[in-house]
């Protein structure tokens, strides 16, 4: 059941989590550049450490500027709270390590951001956590991959770079039937386009580096808890949340807070011990971005639509992956789950393979050639010559990529200028093919 919002998303994006600071009445969120906080007394210090009083002790655990960001994203996403992390990868790792240890198992979409795939496929097995990858649209595969030791289902709201749309309500039902939470990486959609918790997800993670910040100046991650998963009902599966923890006053987190147990453990253990906290400077910068999130996402979507329409009609373009196109298999799903639009990232395939892709990228002047998405500036990358350089054509296809695939992140520029730049790239492709 979605959480009732007390204000509209654009209002929350500007105000949630922050009121003018009581000391100086600053309207903007102050940046609390401090590692630590003065205790009023020994008793006050002990009470803060023992979670008897609310407040800040050390900025690795919590910080007032970060708290504004956490409360803002929680309000936007319909969560009971959030934790700001050093990066999206840190948020993913924090979620996983809060839920499971060695012997745990994850079922994940096979269409994931490369960093997430690396963590799940190569790094976590070294720590005894295995992942089974499934096609995101194959509901039977999700169901069949669940084992007794499965502790998490994980997918991206819109898969990168294949642009498949995750059927969150259906995958959430599968997860909940197995008493396992579903976490959704909502980086490409942001709360401006979709709130996965409202659709049945239990946890949401964001790379705030992307559209939430929007400016491309700050790395950050956010982990949001919907507060809807009943950890006690699945107590045997989640001892980290439902059994006394020697490392923090013998606290049984679900006993202290049946609703916020996950966040308690993640903050009291994960941030404390793993230390992947967010700088308050980055939190401030991401907050500045979120203030205009709704407006920016509208423009990202409209620019993406303009670019997609142009490319889809071009003879040098083999295909465009964009869930709003009739040719995309998830069009109906996208219309249902993403009625405000499918974001600003999409991919297309050029005729002519790797040489065509390289020629296109090198001819661009306005699009920046780099490995990122979600900037206010438009971005482009040719996976076959960069991020996926070592992969064969066959391996690329398995990942939903062709040798001529280009991924674009539509920025906020004038769409006519972006189209002119695409035409510049396509002209270079024509010349390369003609040689």
């Amino acid at each position: 059941m979605p959480i009732h919002r007390n204000a509209g998303a654009d209002t929350l994006a500007l105000h949630a989590g922050q009121t003018p600071d009581p000391a100086h009445h600053s309207r903007a969120t102050p940046i609390h550049f401090t590692t630590s906080y003065v205790f009023e007394s020994s008793d006050h210090a002990a009470a803060l450490f023992n979670q008897e009083r609310a407040g800040h002790v050390y900025s690795r655990i919590s910080n007032p500027t970060n708290a504004v960001l956490e409360e803002r994203i929680a309000a936007l996403d319909g969560g009971v709270g959030a934790i700001a992390c050093a990066s999206g990868q840190a948020a993913l790792m924090l979620a996983i390590t809060t839920l499971m240890g060695s012997g745990g198992h994850i079922v994940a979409s096979r269409s994931l951001y490369g960093g997430s795939h690396n963590l799940l496929a190569y790094t976590l097995p070294r720590f005894g956590i295995e992942t089974t990858f499934v096609a995101p649209g194959d509901l039977n595969a999700w169901r069949a991959a669940i084992r007794p030791e499965t502790r998490l289902l994980f997918g991206e709201a819109i898969c990168n770079p294949s642009l498949e749309v995750l059927d969150i309500p259906a995958v959430a039902d599968i997860a909940h039937a197995a008493r396992v939470p579903l976490m959704v990486d909502a980086t490409l959609v942001t709360p401006a386009l979709q709130c996965p918790i409202d659709l049945g997800a239990d946890l949401v993670m964001h790379s705030a580096t992307k559209f939430l910040g929007g400016h491309g100046v700050a790395i950050g991650g956010l982990l949001v808890d919907g507060g809807s998963f009943d950890w006690e009902a699945a107590a045997a599966h989640f001892p980290t949340l439902t059994e006394p923890y020697d490392g923090f006053h013998n606290m049984d987190f679900a006993e202290e807070s049946p609703i916020a147990a996950f966040l308690l453990r993640a903050r009291r253990e994960g941030l404390r011990d793993f230390g992947a906290c967010l700088s308050p400077m980055n939190a401030f910068q991401i907050l500045q971005g979120i203030e205009t999130l709704g407006l920016r996402m509208q423009r990202h979507v409209s620019n993406a639509r303009a670019l997609v329409a142009h490319l889809a009609a071009h003879p040098l373009v083999e295909s465009v992956a964009w869930p709003e196109l009739d040719s995309h298999p998830d069009k109906a799903l996208a219309a249902r789950l993403l009625p405000k639009g499918c974001g600003g990232v999409f991919s297309f395939s050029l005729k002519g393979g790797r040489p065509a892709g390289s020629s296109f990228i090198e001819a661009l002047r306005l699009f920046s050639h780099l490995a990122n998405v979600g900037d206010a500036k438009s971005l482009a990358i040719h996976p076959a010559s960069t991020t996926h350089f070592r992969m064969s054509a066959q391996a690329l296809l398995a990942a939903g990529i062709t040798e001529g695939t280009i991924r674009l992140s539509a920025g906020l520029e004038d769409p006519s200028d972006l189209i002119e730049d695409l035409d510049r790239g396509l002209h270079a492709v024509q010349k390369a093919i003609s040689r």
């Binding site: 007390n6 209002t11 609310a54 970060n66 807070s257 903050r267």
Partner: protein, 285 residues
């Protein structure tokens, strides 16, 4: 901890499992005991910060989930009188002494009725976010029966300050209204209506107050729209038993003051609990 208590519906011990939070510590015979009673549609976790402080400062803590709430089994009890008897049964079952009763909202009525029912067993009484009588708006009472989500939204609207409504929190990183909504959703269907109906029907507040013989605290919040401070005047005047009565109004919180102003609530309760006037020993139960 889990205990088995008398089934007050049928009048015999049926073995309903009841949950009592004790702050992860066993009860110790020599310690004073603070009994924290939650309000309608809630469970023990609304007191988490305050209870942990009492536990680490030499007190036993008993924060039960009322029947039908949280981890406690059985159906919800239908009247404040039944709930008060149940709380007294918990206290008897656990064999604690020198008991301070602390109740929030509906829990305050339960605490008041329990203190009046067994004045010899209760040494201190703290009513948090209280009024008596406690009429429930017809629209809310109806919504608890017909549309839980609407009822939850109404409760949040009236329980939190505008600042919290916009997502600011005294507890870093949490969205307090969402937390409260999820907690109410987690309770069994029908429990919120039963609770609200019990509050609405309770008429014994003035008589109960007159029978209270222990020091009492009325803790209100200036921005409380559920139980506004001015509405507590008639109840305050009904404490005619001669024991000290302390009144505190917190300036910047609403009805959900344990989460909106957790430190101020803790300070008020702790100062009251440890004040000389409140240190009268109650007889052994």
């Amino acid at each position: 901890m889990k205990i088995n208590l008398p089934d007050l519906h049928s009048g015999h011990i049926s073995g309903h499992s009841s949950y009592v939070y004790t702050g992860s510590r066993a009860l110790e015979p020599g310690r004073p005991t603070a009994v924290f009673i939650h309000g309608a549609g809630h469970d023990h976790s609304v007191w988490t910060l305050q209870t942990r402080y009492f536990v680490s400062h030499g007190w036993n803590v008993i924060a039960p989930d009322l029947p039908g709430h949280g981890r406690s089994g059985g159906p919800g009890l239908k009247s404040i009188d039944e709930m008060a008897k149940w709380v007294l049964a918990v206290i008897t079952e656990l064999g604690v002494r020198n008991v301070m009763l602390i109740g929030h909202s509906m829990g305050s009525l339960i605490a008041l009725q329990a203190a009046a029912t067994a004045p010899g067993q209760i040494s201190r009484l703290a009513l948090v976010g209280s009024v008596a009588p406690m009429p429930v708006a017809a629209s809310l009472l109806d919504a608890t029966l017909t549309d839980r989500n609407k009822a939850h939204a109404m409760i949040n609207q009236w329980s939190y300050t505008p600042r919290t409504q916009l997502g600011a929190s005294s507890i870093p990183g949490l969205c307090l209204t969402a937390l409260n909504e999820r907690l109410m959703q987690r309770q069994a269907p029908g429990v919120l209506h039963t609770d609200m109906a019990a509050c609405n029907a309770y008429t014994g507040g003035f008589d109960a107050a007159a029978q209270v013989r222990c020091p009492s605290l009325l803790l209100s919040s200036a921005l409380d729209r559920m139980t506004p401070p001015k509405a507590i005047e008639p109840l305050a005047k009904a404490f005619t038993g001669g024991a000290p009565l302390t009144r505190i109004v917190l300036p910047d919180a609403g009805h959900a003051m344990m989460s909106e102003a957790p430190g101020a609530v803790l300070d008020a309760l702790w100062n009251f609990a440890t004040s000389p006037a409140a240190h009268q020993e109650a007889p052994m139960i």
